[in-house]
């Protein structure tokens, strides 16, 4: 018997469940490694070489190199781990959130300042590669 996943139809949302955590284990642990400044420096010096030290799939590595956050999430990334990656890039949570929604950071900040995304408003579906 497989697990029920009644949350699969929530628009614009990937639940970091047991399957996602399994698929994304190395991707997330790579992100975790970026909490150490020596690792951040090595990663920044040669991103591809650093990624090749991790047993990740090629699509996972390409999504990281492209900073395709929606792509990373689809491939098992979790936002609290991915935060280490955008922090390494000197980017904020709001920057990353805007990117994933396909909005500019300005538009996104404006939406938040006026109360956030309303529950009735369906999320836009940003094209792959934008977010």
């Amino acid at each position: 018997m497989s697990l029920e996943k009644p949350y699969m139809d929530i628009p614009g949302t990937t639940v970091f469940d047991a399957d996602q955590a399994r698929i994304g284990y190395h991707l997330n642990m790579f992100c975790m490694s970026l909490m150490k400044s020596a690792n951040r420096e090595r990663f920044k010096a040669n991103q591809r070489a650093y990624l090749d030290e991790w047993p990740m799939s090629e699509p996972q590595k390409l999504a990281i190199l492209a900073r395709d956050y929606n792509g990373m999430i689809a491939l098992g990334g979790n936002i609290y781990f991915l935060a280490k990656l955008f922090a390494t890039d000197g980017k904020s949570f709001q920057y990353a959130a805007a990117l994933m929604t396909g909005m500019s950071q300005e538009e996104y900040a404006k939406m938040m300042a006026s109360g956030g995304r309303s529950p009735e408003e369906p999320p836009a579906a940003p094209e792959r590669g934008r977010g």
């Binding site: 009644p6 949350y7 929530i10 628009p11 614009g12 949302t13 990937t14 639940v15 970091f16 469940d17 047991a18 955590a21 284990y25 997330n28 642990m29 992100c31 975790m32 970026l34 909490m35 951040r40 956050y69 929606n70 999430i73 979790n78 936002i79 609290y80 781990f81 935060a83 280490k84 922090a87 390494t88 904020s92 949570f93 709001q94 959130a97 805007a98 994933m100 929604t101 396909g102 996104y108 939406m111 938040m112 300042a113 109360g115 956030g116 995304r117 309303s118 529950p119 999320p123 836009a124 579906a125 940003p126 977010g131």
Partner: protein
């Protein structure tokens, strides 16, 4: 005997910590957030706890995917603020209460809640931002703190029902500790927010208001909210609100609402903050 006097809930948005640490708390963006805690800072001067049992979640800091305890209680003598990738927050070391924490662990495990005991752990913004919001920027935190970490990173977190019952077990454990201590229980995280995917920025004001109302006089109703309802109605990260129910379970059935504050946004999140007091 130890006595639970009050409960506090608050969001623990990391950007709030950054705003404090970088001296931006009077900026036009942040000023309304911090103004919401002015009352609370005065209140806690008088209501000064000896110990805070602080329910929070670790954000891939002390616990990576290598180890994911559903409930973890910090029994160490002290806990260092964690380096989350941009240096540790410039806040005091958190002093624990090993004797009291170990007592709670033993008592709660004997009540069928299988806690993970942690004797070495750094604490991230989930724990230190609430302390900053309530106490400001002192040289040392004015009370002992028992960190109580809940997994809300990998789905599923414990249910709201489980958290509420755990709060009651913690209360029984506190009530039978034979030192005269004023104890507060804090539940942190929330309110509605979503940090990931195209639906990021999700806020549900109606859900939040109803949640705040029920925290006072109908927590049983909140304990019945399912995982799926949280995901749909509070956003994928709004499910952190289950942690508030541990706090509520540790209070009396009847409480006085001393204070309430709600503000959108702090970064990506709806900030909710309450102070509830036991009547006796």
């Amino acid at each position: 005997m130890a006595k639970v006097t009050a409960g506090v809930t608050t969001s623990h948005v990391p950007a709030i910590g950054a705003a404090i640490d970088l001296g931006k708390s009077r900026d036009s963006y942040w000023a309304p957030v911090f103004a919401g805690y002015d009352f609370s800072k005065r209140w806690i001067e008088d209501a000064r706890p000896d110990v805070v049992l602080l329910v929070y979640n670790d954000h891939a800091t002390a616990f990576s995917l290598e180890l994911i305890p559903t409930f973890a209680i910090g029994c160490a003598a002290s806990f260092n603020p964690a380096d989350e990738g941009w240096g540790a927050r410039p806040v005091p070391v958190v002093e624990g209460h090993p004797e009291f924490a170990s007592h709670i662990a033993q008592s709660v495990i004997q009540q069928d809640f299988d806690l993970t005991i942690v004797n070495r752990m750094d604490v991230d913004h989930g724990l230190t931002v609430p302390l900053s919001l309530m106490f400001g920027q002192p040289k040392a935190w004015p009370c002992r703190v028992i960190p109580f970490a809940v997994n809300v990173v990998q789905y599923p977190p414990p249910s709201g029902h489980r958290c509420y019952q755990l709060g009651k077990a913690i209360r029984r454990a506190i009530d039978c500790f034979d030192q005269d201590l004023k104890v507060q229980v804090w539940g942190t995280g929330g309110m509605s927010h979503q940090l990931q995917g195209p639906r990021a920025g999700f806020i549900n004001r109606d859900f939040d208001q109803h949640f705040l109302d029920c925290m006072v006089d109908d927590p049983e109703q909140l304990a019945r909210i399912s995982h799926l309802q949280y995901l749909r109605e509070a956003g994928s990260e709004g499910i952190e609100l289950v942690m508030w129910l541990i706090m509520r379970g540790a209070l009396d059935a009847d409480v006085d609402e001393v204070y309430r504050f709600y503000h959108v946004p702090a970064s990506n999140t709806a900030v909710g903050h309450m102070i509830l007091e036991n009547r006796t």
